[in-house]
Symmetry: D3
Subunit: 243 residues, 6 copies
């Protein structure tokens, strides 16, 4: 699904983001003045999941009994079906399900279609259904819960690719979405290249710090690193890169 | 604010709806298969409020610190300001504030502008601010709470006149919104004429029933009314209309 | 409605309980080892309400669409209608509405019937509807909220006069229910005579204390009262009774 | 435990229900007008659980300190102990724990007794305790959480085999309860035969659909299936049955 | 109660703060980078309350049955009693009640003592009790609810004059606390003089704006004010001050 | 970290507590009149965890933007860092995170430091971050959730070793904290020796009971055990000890 007007990203950005934790990205965004870009309460359906992609969005409202009947799902204009059927490789479908946990907004058949389209993953602030089946499909999926009901039990699909809120995070189409075994964070697109690099740097430093702390050193001077620790780190990193 | 493509309503509809309770409308909509059209947790800022009007909608997402600064409010494209500045007489501004109670989405100056425009009222599933001032303005206002913070503390205005959810009710632009001293209900536009008449009928019957119950009659046969009670009611109503 | 097997209460108990606050009764019950007999979140629909009576109970479950239709309310076996239609003077209808705030379990017609029957009041851990009308009826009513929907929108009446939970308090038929401008408390029937007397005593002492504290005395020694304060109180009370 | 007055079920019903997902049953019940029969927030204590059985019910109220002491559990009239001690093979004990997560309503010894009696499983909208031990017992158990406290910390057992609410679902004794790796659904008994067959049919169709979607087909025309897809499916099924 | 090490405040600060709304102060603090200084969910027990003072703090933990008995309240070291008995004129007692609404942390006798001491008010993120009595005392009181239970039912008083959280706001002893008919805000002490003046300026401007908007002007250019509006305002203010 | 003034514990206490379940301890404390010493909603980050230790405490308040910046963490007076850097072997760090789930209060580096110091574990009523990394460290960790944000996103560290509330349990420094695969309980220090022994006794009895129930016996007379069962148990235990 084409999202018009997006600035291109650096070639290495997705690769870098695949190798850093969501926690590290959260700290980098905090330093840029963005306090709340990691979702609250949204976790992976399968342990050890990793996901990076570009956000396409889907928005739900509350159900209305006369509008939300199973047969309406066959319409080519149904926003949920259209979003899933036309998503592009490398995209993540992020859905504003109003935090409603009384129905699921993805089942095993739809997850299979997302995977067949090459989507990078699925994120909702509601629930998914057929969760045992979704685990078998293997698509990275993040949700606040699972529920056997279909989406029309409680929700009404409204729009594709408008800005949405998901788990208290503002998500614009084209934002960069990263997930790991803990949660999901949404990087404003114009910051993605910068954050990818600074997160990589932070993780290298923290690898060094972890080694020292694991060896019995005090936190003070080391975490956060003072001048001396940073210099040691620079030498360690230089040596490692040579090595 | 013009809402394109709306069917006209019967001349008497708004008049009828002003004289019936929201509770009565809820029962009429239930009988048409719509279980959840009355908002939960949304009440009047001023006791004894009554409101009828056509919905125009405003949608918020979560705040993003770099986008949501007070100076952004001066943009003619700010959806909140635009909605309030261009609303038409007889319209009600219904806002999807994501149920967020950490900021207010209307203050006394904006309420004054709504009133100057001839708006019929304001509804939010979030909070209002400057509530002592809003009470003085006298515009019918319904909210889930009050909070001193401005909307940019927690919310980001996104759209005007798209379908929204508000307090778990799907609201389409042009839907008919009715408020009383208890709460708010949203009638799908195509049902408004029918519901206005049937609600009027129900209230006439209940006035008759209330008189009988107040006089000491048992509920059974009277509330709900059986054949005999309905016949008595028809005679009572006919007499009253003559009289 | 007769509740079988109840022990009689002392003649003065209801009179004493009408003159003490719910807060005072809560302290007396705490001293008897009962920590949680005052309801949480349940308040009066009308300010300055006072209520004392014997509990009759009504229990709801969640709604089931095929069972809960308005026409079912005409059945003489509908537990809600039956409870309201057969309540006796001096009784309070206490309803377990599962804490559900998406519908009301009493409207103005039913409140009118309760009043005509001589009921002392109504308590629910859910909502009431037609609340502006209920205020006019004048029956003491306590609830956690108000909602325009009728009970069949979300609830299904199940039983009369079984033990229930209401706002986290276990209520047995025949328990003594007391309400004031703040809230509601439920006294196990076998403790009602004792608690009525000890609450009266506490309030007399607190009246004396309030006078001293209002006059500028320190809390220590006075509230709680030490030996000396108690002796002063005894003299004050004796003097006052002589009058 | 005998439940009086139950209609017999078709011989194949339990077998069919063991092989379909709860999500599929939820859709079939929705089509019959029942929107909310799958429990919200109730999940299996052990992954990959499957359970089918007939509901027997147990109801709790809030605790009262003088009534709820450990020694009261030895009474042959204690409803919790009686329900567990007299349950019959093929029955599922469904408990209304008021959604209270501050104590557990089943421990490893009681789970062992349920299993020894041949019970099909246990469902609560509260918590279970001794959850590591319960996992070893292997009885299918569904709950909203786990808590080390015993039930008398927060709850008081009241009744056996009355209609109850559990996780916002009305449960009548004799209803058919089905659980899988995702959740629990309660089928009104008179619909169980019909739903078992239609769920089986839906799962066959979805197996066919999943194959097509996995093979790269678009959702439209396939899910939901249009006339042509249904015809293909009929041929596929006929072939498979022959095969 | 003396709070050591506090910087003095400008003489006019309290006077200025008495005349501005909490909503205005919230905006001024936002402009200084402090997003969340207004309490959420805390409102006045009496409508039309106004309060300004210096924070003294009281901290509660959860109750422990053996420690929290009514007789413990007579100890001169009980932190609640000590705080109330030694508060100084112009101070506001702010209590961290853990957001617990199952008991009250102030009753009418204690409110009377606070008033006799000259305290400016009382704030809690929990409940107060004896609320009808507290209304008669007339001390400005802010809370999240009311409950008949005494504090020992659910809470245990721990400390006086340590930093606390109250309704999600960090409160340091000596911070300046302001309340109006809507809510409560806490100004870090070192910002109080500056915020008092800038809030006064904002309110003067908004008075001018309100007049224009009430007269039918558009929001744009006026609210927020552009250059031209600001110049008009300067002339208006100058004229008014002369006048 | 030394906690002044603690009474010594019996040599065997920690050993006994390692071998009993938290559920058993909860029952023993209930019998001593302490109803709520097991935490609600706090579970192990890693399944099959066991933990016993002495509580040291850390207290958080809400964040204040100017105080809570990453660079503040390098101060030797930062309470979080100080607590973690100076904890002693056999101690458990229990943190009052205000139940806030919008940030984590422990990450993999800090968990590594706790482990290097010989700490027995970590407990919070908030979240941890870097949870995949924490799982690898292997320190027993209990939390209400996980979140990628660092603590300064939402919290401000205030104190070390003061009494705190954690998940609705009052925790005094030096209290004995026990965790298993289900949850966490806090034993008041002066009761630890007694409870360790009585819990051991209860578990022996329940092992005997479990055997009988597993063998098909009725609950009545066995669980709870009557005189006869207790005598059988005494013989069984005596035999086993000889054996």
């Amino acid at each position: 699904m084409e999202i018009p007007g997006l600035e291109p990203l650096a070639a290495e950005t997705f690769e870098l983001l695949k190798r850093v934790s969501v926690a590290t990205i959260a700290t980098q965004l905090f330093k840029l003045g963005l306090r709340s870009r990691a979702m609250t309460g949204v976790g992976p359906i399968l342990a050890d999941t990793r996901m990076v992609g570009e956000a396409v969005t889907l928005r739900y409202g509350p159900t209305r009994e006369d509008l939300d009947q199973p047969e309406k799902l066959s319409s080519p204009e149904n926003p949920q079906r259209k979003a899933i059927d036309t998503i592009s490789p490398g995209q993540v479908l992020v859905t504003d399900a109003r935090g409603d946990l009384r129905c699921g907004t993805l089942g095993d058949i739809l997850a299979t279609r997302l995977k067949a389209r090459g989507a990078s993953g699925f994120v909702t602030d509601g629930a998914v259904r057929d969760s045992p089946g979704i685990r078998q499909v293997g698509l990275p999926c993040y949700a606040r819960g699972t529920h056997p009901n279909a989406n029309f039990h409680a929700l009404h699909a409204l729009d594709i690719n408008v800005p949405i809120g998901c788990a208290e995070v503002l998500v614009l189409p084209g934002d960069v979405v990263v997930g790991d075994g803990e949660g999901v964070i949404v990087i404003p697109r114009h910051l993605a290249d910068q954050v990818a690099r600074s997160a990589r740097d932070q993780e290298e430093l923290e690898q060094f710090i972890l080694q020292k702390i694991g060896g019995g050193m005090s936190l003070f001077g080391v975490y956060p690193a003072n001048e001396q620790t940073r210099e040691e780190f620079e030498r360690w990193r230089a040596a490692r890169r040579r090595g």
